[in-house]
């Protein structure tokens, strides 16, 4: 089973929830898909076992063959090509590696080469497998690295916890595409509800069952409760606003290992997810 942890807004506590959730599940695989700023490893400090480079295909031009017809420039949906001063300019960081330009070129002037966009680091922490994706600075898209990360978890029996990037863009969509259940982490604020509604819409679009974790919870008078009620969304856990967690986090420690109460909170959250996911599966079967 794959559990994706996401939030429309940054700083709500995705990594906090993902790390602590993975830490209460035996033999879990923690997958850090937040490839622009992977933070989970700061808590797990895993023993590295291997590093794999991630490559994508990008076009190169043979200037002796290029006739300047510009068919590739017009074809590219991502505007990764320009034709200036009788030569082709290639912006490889905008390239989505579709290969279309080299297919369409009537002069066979374009071919593809491998370009490194980042790496995937495999490691262990106690009985956990920690897999971290790291994008090279300056790259436009983390999607190829996320695909590589998910490949490591595709046929595993273990519970996989996927720490997603913030927002609701392509990288988030990629991160949750194989997920069996989505945990939507939110703060009890109006801004957070706005972003929550966006990731809820995304999860629904991809037919993913989901539930909400309210982090930094103060009291029942908050706009998230109302949103969840209106949209028939289960609230899986309410994690109270607690300065102790900031202290623990700043020290790079894992709350469930430091404190029995949080051990109980996250064990209960895991049980709740299993229950909800099972419930959804039953409903799916009935349909």
């Amino acid at each position: 089973m794959k559990i994706a942890v996401l939030s429309g807004k940054g700083g709500t506590g995705k990594t906090f929830v993902s790390v602590n959730l993975a830490a209460v599940i035996s033999d879990a695989i923690y997958l850090d898909c937040d490839v622009e700023e992977p933070n989970g490893h700061l808590f797990f400090k895993p023993d590295l076992t291997s590093i794999e480079e991630v490559y994508v295909k990008v076009p190169v031009v043979d200037t002796t063959k290029c006739s300047g017809c510009r068919q590739c420039v017009e074809f590219c949906k991502f505007n990764a090509l320009a034709y200036i001063n009788n030569s082709l300019l290639i912006f490889s960081e905008l390239c989505h590696s579709c290969g279309g330009c080299s297919l369409i070129c009537p002069d066979n002037a374009l071919s593809e080469i491998d370009k490194s966009v980042g790496n995937v680091q495999m490691g262990t922490y106690k009985n956990l497998t920690v897999i971290t994706g790291i994008m090279n600075p300056g790259e436009e898209s983390g999607v190829p690295i996320i695909q590589h990360l998910l490949d490591h978890a595709c046929d595993k029996e273990n519970i996989v916890v996927i720490d997603c990037p913030a927002g609701s863009s392509c990288t988030v969509m990629e991160s949750i595409k194989d997920a069996d259940y989505c945990v939507l982490v939110t703060e009890p604020t109006l801004l957070s509800v706005h972003n929550l509604s966006m990731i809820h819409e995304l999860a629904r679009l991809l037919n993913k069952p989901c539930g909400v974790v309210i982090n930094k919870y103060l009291n029942e008078l908050n706009p998230v409760e109302q949103f969840c009620q209106e949209n028939n969304l289960s609230i899986l856990a309410r994690i109270g606003f607690d300065l102790y967690l900031s202290v623990i986090g700043a020290k790079g420690l894992i709350a469930v290992e430091e404190n029995r109460d949080y051990q109980a909170v996250f064990s209960q959250l895991y049980k709740q997810i299993i229950k909800e996911a099972g419930h959804e599966a039953v409903i799916d079967n009935q349909r």
């Binding site: 429309g8 940054g10 622009e36 420039v73 590219c76 949906k77 991502f78 505007n79 990764a80 090509l81 320009a82 034709y83 200036i84 001063n85 030569s87 300019l89 912006f91 905008l94 436009e140 983390g142 990037p165 913030a166 927002g167 609701s168 863009s169 990288t171 988030v172």
Partner: protein, 149 residues
């Protein structure tokens, strides 16, 4: 620059002052907010500017062209906008800012980028003609991924 009859040998003799005195004319491009309003303002963005004003400093002829392919694109708007103004024969670009990729295309074409000082088109053209505009120095890395990583 087909309007001025200077031979290659003469070019080195032409000073910057001569250019701005009107001895040498240029076709300049300016990103603008509207293509129909005479009193439209300069667009704060280059790549996603709705229109470009092409201005011939000799004939003072104005032409508005729509930047519709770039504004409709998901990414790489700056590149396609730069390709457009280069293809239209612009020799100088007057803009408040310009992204890295767009600047690479524009400079590859030998087009100079000047920084505008206000959002008023007429003021900027006058400042350019008087040689008062500085070349744009701080090329920003682009405003990609609006609305989340």
């Amino acid at each position: 620059m087909d309007v001025v009859a200077v031979t290659v040998e003469d070019i080195s003799m032409v000073t910057k002052e001569d250019i701005f005195k009107g001895d040498l004319y240029m076709k300049i491009a300016i990103p603008v907010l509207d293509g129909a309003l005479a009193n439209t303002n300069i667009s704060p963005s280059f790549g996603r500017a709705p229109f470009f004003l092409l201005f011939d400093t000799e004939t003072e002829e104005k032409q508005f062209i729509a930047n519709s392919t770039a504004t409709a694109s998901q990414g790489g708007a700056g590149i396609i906008a730069a390709q457009l103004i280069v293809d239209q024969g612009a020799e100088a670009l007057l803009t408040p800012r310009c992204g890295k990729n767009a600047a690479e295309v524009i400079t590859a074409a030998g087009v100079k980028i000047y920084k505008t000082v206000s959002d008023d088109i007429q003021e900027s053209i006058q400042a350019f003609n008087a040689g008062e505009l500085k070349e744009l120095e701080n090329i920003h890395p682009g405003f990609h991924h609006h609305g989340g990583a």
